[in-house]
């Protein structure tokens, strides 16, 4: 018995040492290995399959009209953070801001029956929709605010969407480091009852930091989809033909998911 136990003991001890050593080595190797994988295009394409899966499952669960939760006025935060652009540096925008956006217009064109340019006053005079919802940023924070604006579906019906229109591209007045801001959504989100072009936050006209005078609310997706400073809505057959092809500023500039439901 002792004859067998002796070598077994020492081999175990060796293994323990080897294991601890390989753990330390493994930690270093893991890092470089993961970074190498992260740089590999085929691996990256594989990772991106999750986005397709997430969208399919979310649409299956929520359908076309699953509603984002709405809150009571008590839940509204004392301040709604402004993220991304706080003040567009476009001089034209700044001039318009100085005159309370009196001359601001919202163009809706592309694959529509009656391309139209709406004055800000016209938008504000349209039937109002108000909702107290939670804004979820891709970074991880949330804020609850009360949004007032015009239902996006109502707006689309004013211009008449053509059957070939499958996406909406939102062109914005702010330009960041990599180019002008824009976003795009499909018709499921465009026709969702809570999707709106908002012009007021917490019972006051939209502040510049939150996208004055008009911004998109698309409540079932993360904050970067909620385009601010919207000047033009273009109905298109394929968002991949616009700008960098990713369907949005952050999608192009940083590789964020086009579908931002999680």
């Amino acid at each position: 018995m002792t004859e067998i136990a002796q070598p077994l003991e020492s081999s175990l001890r060796l293994t323990r040492r080897a294991l601890v050593g390989s753990l330390a080595l493994g930690a270093g190797g893991l890092l470089t290995g993961c970074d190498a994988l992260n740089a590999n295009q085929r691996f990256r394409d594989t990772l991106r399959l999750a986005e397709t899966g997430n969208m399919a499952v979310h649409r299956l669960m929520g359908g076309r009209s699953g509603l984002a939760r709405e809150y009571s006025p008590r839940d509204i935060g004392h301040a709604f953070p402004a993220n991304g652009t706080r003040m567009p540096d476009d001089p034209v925008y700044q001039r318009e801001a100085a005159t309370a956006f009196a001359d601001w217009t919202l163009a809706i064109d592309g694959l529509v029956e009656r391309p139209t340019r709406f004055a800000l006053g016209q938008i504000r005079a349209m039937p109002r929709q108000t909702q107290i919802t939670r804004h979820d940023c891709v970074e991880g924070w949330s804020a609850i605010g009360k949004w007032t604006g015009v239902n996006l579906s109502y707006l689309l019906d004013q211009v008449g969407l053509r059957d070939s229109a499958r996406y909406l591209v939102f062109h914005c007045a702010d330009t960041l480091r990599a180019g002008p801001y824009y976003e795009s959504i499909d018709m499921v989100d465009a026709r969702h009852p809570q999707s709106m072009i908002a012009w007021a936050l917490n019972d006051a006209l939209l502040p510049v930091g939150n996208g004055a005078p008009l911004r998109l609310r698309v409540e079932r997706q993360l904050g970067y989809k909620h385009a601010k400073y919207v000047r033009r809505i273009e109905a298109v057959a394929d968002y991949r033909l616009a700008y960098g092809g990713g369907g949005g500023y952050w999608e192009d500039a940083a590789g964020y998911e086009w579908y931002a439901g999680i």
Binding site: L12, C34, E51, H58, R134, W141
Partner: protein
Amino acid sequence: MNTAAAPLEIQQDLAPPEPVPAEQDHYHARSTRVWHWVNLVALIALFMSGLMIFNAHPSLYWGEAGNRTEPGWLMIGARGETGFVRVGSVQITSTGVLGRWEDADGISRNRAFPYWATIPSDYNLADARHWHFFFAWIFAFGLLAFMVVSLFNGHLMREIAMRSHEWRPSTLWQTIVDHARLRFHTETGESYNPLQKLSYIAIIFVALPLMIVTGLAMSPAVDAALHFPSIMFGGRQSARSIHFIIAFALVAFLVVHVALVLIHKPLTLLRGMTIGARR
């Protein structure tokens, strides 16, 4: 002794006096072995990419909402050249490891978790999210498959389920005492001792499923479809906090789990969980 009986006696001496109680069986079914390692890879990828995602907003809150206009219950940050971790009103200096640290090139960075703990190692929220959601699918469906297979192949009821007598305080206490003396197996005929069973049950049926549900609770689309995941935790930011806490509880489990394997029978246990051969 007569000569006729002698060979018989020798034979009896050579043969074991009675069947040796089967050496603790460390064999694992193929489904268990595959899941164990796939799950390990997925959890490491999820944890490290999760730390990067946390770096994008290194504060945690309770309730539905929470953002920079209010202090969170936990924050990792830097003030000047000092990195800190603040929990409630208690603040600990953590320069070099958390909040402010030097990257591989010796450049000081003000980020919560250091480069050696995150995927990718350079700050990139978009890439971390791609990793996180891809491995989340592997993790979630792997766990589901393991649960279903373990139910049908008997693993669950045979090895993991607690026997009624194992719930006795005296039995549980005896197991704790045995653990403290680093004696892990007493002859009970069970594959796992009660403490082991309880920790596996807690991990497989509580902690891991909670990671999935708290993760889903943070999704605005899932929240719109099914309100309960977010509501049951007290809101989206509470779910995010719980997600973070359980992630570190899983790391603690991993450390204890590996330590116990190492001080018990590393080779035998590793063989049972890899090639699965009986010794």
